[in-house]
């Protein structure tokens, strides 16, 4: 415990010396610059893992760890999520009781649009995620909302991601609405804030801790984090949404997880997705 503390202290001190360099990426509404953040993150990973191609970060940890990549490639020979994509397609195309369907709720009939989520809704003054809109589509057509973490919502989301493969993420932060930038900043802050009994931030494991074993797990890089969701995790033995993973990660730091689709999580998704701009959507994915 003591050692951990001392280490943490050392890191903090080290971080202070970095602050002058890092300050230009912005920590408040006056200075925050999402595009500078995105470029800085890519540079960070390029210098940490010079061998890895930036475009390959859509494959998470497998972009930087050859040993696990080989097993993952074996899994991808016949990915475990295929049944779910099939089921998702069927659900997506099943009409509601009122005769309408998911295709009526989304742009382009819901096909090939995953890379545009989440987005800032000026009307509602909040970040909207794909899963959120899937459920809103149901409710506005008189259907019960689905549970957020797994099952049908993950399958529908997986099918929609499948139809969007190789489309480039292009998350926008509208300049004419300060609240959008504020949401981004909140997400960034969430990512870097230490919390829980283990006193860990997302960044501790997924920026500084990338590819450094936590017992037997290798944390994935933050760059490209959201591109491949929903994900079939061997650990779960099933498909799960991004917010299910957020809850799990949150628990791992011994925090009480927030509810899926909580504003904090949506802001976090907004920040993380912006960081993945320029990378392609490649969901659903399979992970350990």
């Amino acid at each position: 415990m003591k050692i951990i503390k001392t280490l943490a202290l050392g890191l903090t001190v080290a971080a202070v010396t970095q602050m002058t360099h890092a300050a230009d990426t912005g920590f408040d509404m006056q200075t925050v610059d999402p595009e500078a953040d995105r470029i800085a993150l890519q540079k960070y990973f390029k210098s940490r893992f010079p061998e890895s191609d930036i475009a390959d970060y859509v494959n998470g940890i497998y972009a930087v760890d050859a040993g696990s990549r080989e097993q993952w490639e074996e899994l991808e020979e016949f990915p475990p999520y295929e049944f779910d994509v099939e089921k998702g397609e069927e659900l997506f195309n099943t009409a509601f009781a009122n005769g309408k369907g998911y295709a009526d709720c989304f742009e382009n009939g819901g096909v090939g649009i995953r890379q545009n989520f989440p987005y800032w809704s000026k009307e509602e003054g909040t970040v909207k995620t794909l899963e959120q809109e899937i459920n809103e589509c149901r409710v506005s057509n008189g259907e019960e909302p689905l549970k957020w973490g797994k099952g049908a919502i993950a399958q529908i989301s997986a099918y929609m991601a499948w139809t969007s493969r190789d489309k480039v993420f292009d998350i926008k932060i509208p300049a004419d609405d300060e609240r959008a930038k504020a949401a981004y900043l909140e997400g960034k802050k969430f990512f870097y804030a230490k919390r829980g009994q283990l006193n860990l931030s997302c960044a501790n494991c997924h920026v500084q801790g990338t590819n450094i074993a936590i017992r037997a797990d290798l944390p994935s890089p933050q760059l490209g984090h959201v591109t491949h969701f929903p994900v079939f995790r061997s650990k779960w033995g099933s498909l799960g949404t991004l917010h299910r993973r957020y809850s799990g990660c949150h628990k791992d730091s011994r925090s009480k997880p927030l509810k899926p689709q909580a504003e904090e999580f949506r802001n976090l998704e907004y920040f993380q997705s912006y960081m993945s701009n320029g990378l392609v959507a490649n969901g659903p994915g399979s992970r350990k």
């Binding site: 696990s68 097993q71 899994l75 936590i214 037997a216 990660c249 628990k251 791992d252």
Partner: protein
């Protein structure tokens, strides 16, 4: 490799509860599932029950498996052999409760090259046994199964 009594009884009991003969038919047509081998709790017994003996190590048997399994629930494994006349290929995980994982029957014309995914409860030696021209050859590899830190 005849069907032993217990599995016949089981098949009849199960088949009877369903559609009877039509369910039973393909079962008999297939190579028997050897209960004694699959239920054996040590590898030597399992191997003996399934293949009637022990295997000798051979460089002509290739077992591809990870050094460290990402997840013990899904360990990708490929068994292949350059030998001619391969009749079957079997996989054993020594430290599993029942070491015999699977037996693949290789008819003439099919490559002696099969991939699958298996479960490992803990770190163990994994052994592939190839039966060719009535003889048994093997290759083994230790696969580590570790406990992850990210349970959520």
């Amino acid at each position: 490799m005849s069907m032993n009594r217990r599995s016949v009884v089981k098949a009849i009991a199960a088949g009877g509860a369903l559609v009877g003969a039509s369910v039973l038919m393909p079962r008999i047509a297939m190579a028997a599932w050897t209960t004694k081998a699959f239920e054996a709790e040590d590898q030597a017994t399992a191997m003996n029950e399934l293949l009637g003996g022990a295997a000798e190590e051979s460089a002509e048997v290739t077992l591809k498996a990870p050094d460290i399994a990402e997840n013990g629930a899904v360990v990708p494994v490929t068994v292949s052999s350059s030998m001619a006349g391969v009749e079957s290929m079997s996989i054993f995980v020594e430290n599993n409760p029942n070491p015999l994982v699977a037996e693949f029957l290789i008819p003439a014309g099919t490559d002696a090259d099969v991939s699958t995914r298996l479960r490992m409860g803990k770190t163990s030696k994994v052994t592939a046994v190839v039966k060719a021209n009535g003889k048994l050859y093997s290759a083994s590899k230790e696969v580590k199964v570790t406990i992850g830190g990210c349970g959520g």
